[in-house]
């Protein structure tokens, strides 16, 4: 179980990106985070694994306070939290296999990393994971030779290599066309259903939310304005989340 308590983030320039956000995610849930662009979705997801330090508030994970963890503990926590990004964030000039193996770095002795060495088991696992995301034959390509959809699968494979308990997905399909978006979302769904991995996924389109999410939280200008089932978002709620002028499509 993951619990966020009163998370507030003020950026250095003074931008108040999150204000007092609290919510809980039971283990194994698929939680969608929605909101306009600039509402604080990315900031919220990054506060969970402390890629961004929250200004105040706490994150509890299985009873442990992530926000109070020492750098060493934080590394151990992070390796069980996979992350998938809107812009994929692959290392372009490295091979796909290396990108996937990077998911094991938290488990690898840094001295081995000096020689770019991974264990045989890790390499085997990397190939299996690539097969699992349907690109078994791309291991030796350079990452930037792949299409957008393929790159995002590599991103998912990298997260899977971590043996994650949680996956944070920050608008994983916003850079992809709708057909590809569904195939990527299906992979996340399978990981959620088959492996029991908790997924926190920020999304733009409500139809994706209805199709994949167990539960939704919504942010507006850094405040939590909705928490509930996808079906509970009626027209009134919609206007609250997306503003008065928003039109509901689809």
């Amino acid at each position: 179980m993951l619990e966020a308590r009163n998370i507030t983030k003020v950026y250095e320039g003074g931008v108040q990106a999150l204000t007092d956000v609290s919510f809980t995610v039971p283990k194994g849930q698929f939680l969608a985070v929605i909101g306009l662009s600039g509402s604080g979705k990315s900031t919220l997801l990054r506060c969970i694994n402390r890629l961004i330090e929250p200004t105040s508030g706490q994150i509890f994970w299985n009873g442990k306070d992530i926000t109070a963890a020492s750098p060493e503990e934080l590394r151990r926590i992070r390796r069980r939290i996979g992350m998938v990004f809107q812009s994929f964030n692959l290392v372009h000039r490295s091979k796909v296999l290396t990108n996937v193996l990077a998911g094991r770095l938290g488990y690898t002795n840094p001295a081995w990393s000096l020689f770019n060495r991974f264990s045989k088991a890790d390499i085997e696992k990397a190939h299996q994971t690539l097969a699992r995301v349907d690109i078994p034959d791309k291991a030796d390509y350079r990452a930037d030779e792949l299409s957008g959809g393929q790159q995002q699968r590599v991103g998912i494979a990298r997260a899977l290599m971590q043996d994650p308990e949680i996956i944070l997905a920050d608008e994983p399909v916003a850079s992809l066309d709708p057909a590809l978006a569904h195939s990527i979302m299906k992979h996340l769904e399978r990981i959620n259903k088959e492996d029991g991995v908790t997924v926190l996924c920020s999304l733009h389109f409500l139809d994706l939310v209805h199709k994949y999410a167990d539960r939704v939280i919504a942010l507006n200008e850094g405040r939590l304005v909705f928490e509930g089932l996808p079906g509970e978002i009626d027209d009134k709620k919609f206007k609250e989340i997306y503003g008065r002028d928003a039109e509901r499509v689809g």
Binding site: S70, L90, H92, R93, A102, G106, M161
Partner: protein, 616 residues
């Protein structure tokens, strides 16, 4: 940005004219002053003596001394008195040398023009007629007076103006000299010397670039803001880290020196050295495997942890010892191999010198390794201490440690200053710095929150930047002066100077590249739980390889240029030869060297542009 609208309400144009006039006057004054201080003066340029030497030098430069021929020479030295001794009338005299002979006047007044007629010289050949002052007909000092050509019968006539300022009671000579090149051309002495020095120059540039690249690679990360700004540590950890350095350096250096002495006593026995290298190397390998196979989980038990530390220590000592013995082995193999290898003796020399370098730097290396290990261990201990202590206890610990670290740092600075300025007074070099440093540390400990993470990364970043900028502002040619004093005149000094300058400039260029990489991959790798080293290896390095190659090529290009002139201050290479020849007024030889420099530089320029296009 606001767009300025055209101003229709005409400004008082008098003011504008005045302002323009003032501006113009200041510009003229500035240029006038520049003329004054740079000594622009065409008077000197127009002088006849200047004009003559101009012609002489330009013509010499246009004739690089590249080829030599065997010469068939004809020389006739006709005696001449300047002026005619009292009562003697000038008369036609005949002077012979083999077949050839020259008819000329036996004496004449200074400044007169006299005629020489030569017979039986080689036909259709240049003849140089020169005046040889003094009474030695074989003197090499000769003032060229005329250049003529012999006709098809080997005859020539030359009109020679006798010098005005060479009057003497002794007999002097007029030399008629003709030569023909016979046989095939061969490289001249200056061409061969130039070739030697050009090779030296190119390899100086190569070594300096190699050294500079290797050392500036890790340093460039310390000078990259985006990597350093997130490096934060609590004061407890920083203070312990600082305290760890001198202790670690001391122990490391002592261990290194002791091992150096130990292995020095086996220097004669190559077999023993080889056995040592193998055995120590094997033990290091096994020990490392053992530590690594234990994964990165910190062992829980105290005994376990102590065991691990002990193994690491043993491995480090064995590794240093293996290093030293490898140096020994390399030296004895090298010196044994120089003779039998013949033309490839330089390989033996390389082995010998590398071994020597290895053994010389080992104590320093051991000190560095000891310092970094102890400081990082203590720093980590400080980190966990800071996590476990209550805020009050942490503050108390901080007060003590920060005072100690500050005091130590300042005493270190005091000692360094003492080394340079020989102050000697312990109050100024120990007590005062210790008090000041401790006070500084205390202030820091009081002003900061006890467990707050301070941005030590940015501090390191600023210090690195400052040092690099300071070093970069000193030209390599100037640095060479210092290194000539350190290691003597020659290419080695040049390599050191160029290498240092290369480090400074590459650290700047490289770190700018690090600062411009994509942040996304770094974020992604950090999110997997990778530590800082792993993040650099997997997210930073792949992104910077192409610009690093490109900048290394660029620097290699610059280093070739620089190494051609670094000899001016004694740094070896072709510049040394060039300056020497210019000072000897041997412009033909200097021209050879200039030509060689031009060829090499443009060739390197071409190569590096091709390579850069290929790799980037």
């Amino acid at each position: 940005m606001t767009q300025s609208k055209p101003n229709h309400e005409a400004k008082p144009s008098v003011w504008r004219s005045l302002r323009n006039g003032l501006f113009f006057a200041i510009a003229i004054l500035t240029i006038a002053y520049a003329f004054q201080v740079t000594g622009v003066d065409l008077e000197e340029f127009r002088k006849e003596s200047r004009q003559q030497s101009r012609v002489r030098v330009m013509r010499a430069l246009a004739r690089p001394d590249v080829f030599d021929f065997d010469r068939a020479e004809t020389t006739v030295n006709s005696p001449v008195h300047l002026p005619c001794p009292g009562g003697v009338e000038p008369q036609i005299q005949r002077e012979e040398s083999g077949e050839a002979y020259v008819e000329s006047l036996s004496c004449s007044a200074a400044g007169e023009i006299i005629t020489l007629t030569g017979y039986n010289f080689p036909p259709n050949t240049d003849v140089v007629v020169s005046f040889v002052p003094g009474n030695d007909p074989n003197s090499t000092l000769a003032l060229t007076k005329a250049r003529v050509k012999s006709d098809s019968q080997g005859r020539f006539t030359a009109e020679v103006e006798l010098p005005k300022d060479r009057e003497s009671d002794d007999v002097q000579f007029l030399r008629s000299y003709a030569y023909r090149n016979v046989g095939a051309p061969r490289w001249s002495k200056s061409a061969l010397d130039t070739w030697d020095k050009i090779i030296e120059t190119v390899f100086m540039a190569f070594l300096a670039t190699l050294l500079g690249t290797i050392l500036s690679f890790p340093l460039s990360f310390l000078a990259a803001r985006n990597l350093m700004k997130n490096v934060r540590s609590p004061l407890t950890s920083i203070a312990l880290n600082l305290l760890g350095w001198p202790l670690g350096i001391f122990f490391g250096f002592q261990a290194g020196k002791y091992l150096l002495g130990l292995s020095g006593s086996f220097a004669e026995n190559a077999w023993l050295n080889a056995a040592d290298v193998v055995i120590a190397g094997l033990l290091v390998y096994i020990g490392t495997r053992w530590s690594l196979s234990r994964g990165d989980e910190t062992p829980s038990g105290v005994i376990q942890r102590a065991l691990q530390e002990l193994v690491s220590l043993a491995v480090s000592i064995l590794a240093i010892y293996a290093f030293l013995e490898a140096g020994n082995l390399s030296m004895s193999l090298g010196s044994a191999a120089i003779e039998p290898l013949g033309a490839f003796g330089f390989v033996g020399n390389f082995l010998y010198q590398s071994g020597d370098i290895l053994r010389t730097i080992t104590p320093a290396l051991a000190a560095l390794v000891g310092g970094s290990i102890l400081s990082s261990r203590l720093g980590r201990f400080g980190q966990s201490l800071s996590e476990r202590l209550s805020a009050g206890a942490a503050r108390a610990v901080n007060l003590i440690l920060a005072a100690a670290a500050g005091g130590m740092l300042f005493v270190g600075i005091g000692q360094t200053l003492n080394w340079f300025y020989e102050i000697g007074n312990p109050f100024y070099i120990v007590i005062l710095p210790a008090v000041l440093g401790a006070a500084g540390g205390l202030t820091l400990a009081i002003l900061t929150k006890p467990k707050a993470a301070l941005s030590i990364g940015l501090t390191v970043y600023y210090i690195t930047r400052m040092i690099v900028n300071a070093v970069r502002s000193v030209e390599a040619v100037i640095m060479a002066i210092v290194f000539v004093i350190f290691v003597g005149i020659g290419p080695f000094a040049g390599v050191m100077a160029l290498g240092l300058h290369t480090i400074a400039s590459l650290v700047k260029l490289y770190s700018e590249q690090v600062e411009s990489i994509l942040a996304g991959p770094i974020e992604a790798i950090e999110a997997t739980g990778a530590n800082r080293l792993q993040t650099i290896i997997y997210a930073v390095i792949p992104q910077i390889i192409p610009p690093y190659i490109s900048y290394t090529m660029y620097r290699w290009d610059i280093n070739v240029r620089m190494s051609t002139i670094i000899g001016i201050t004694g740094g070896g290479g072709i510049g040394f030869l060039l300056v020497q020849n210019i000072n000897l007024l041997d412009y033909n030889a200097a021209s050879t060297q200039m030509l060689a420099i031009a060829i090499v530089v443009s060739f390197m320029d071409y190569i590096s542009s091709v390579m850069r296009e290929k790799y980037v």
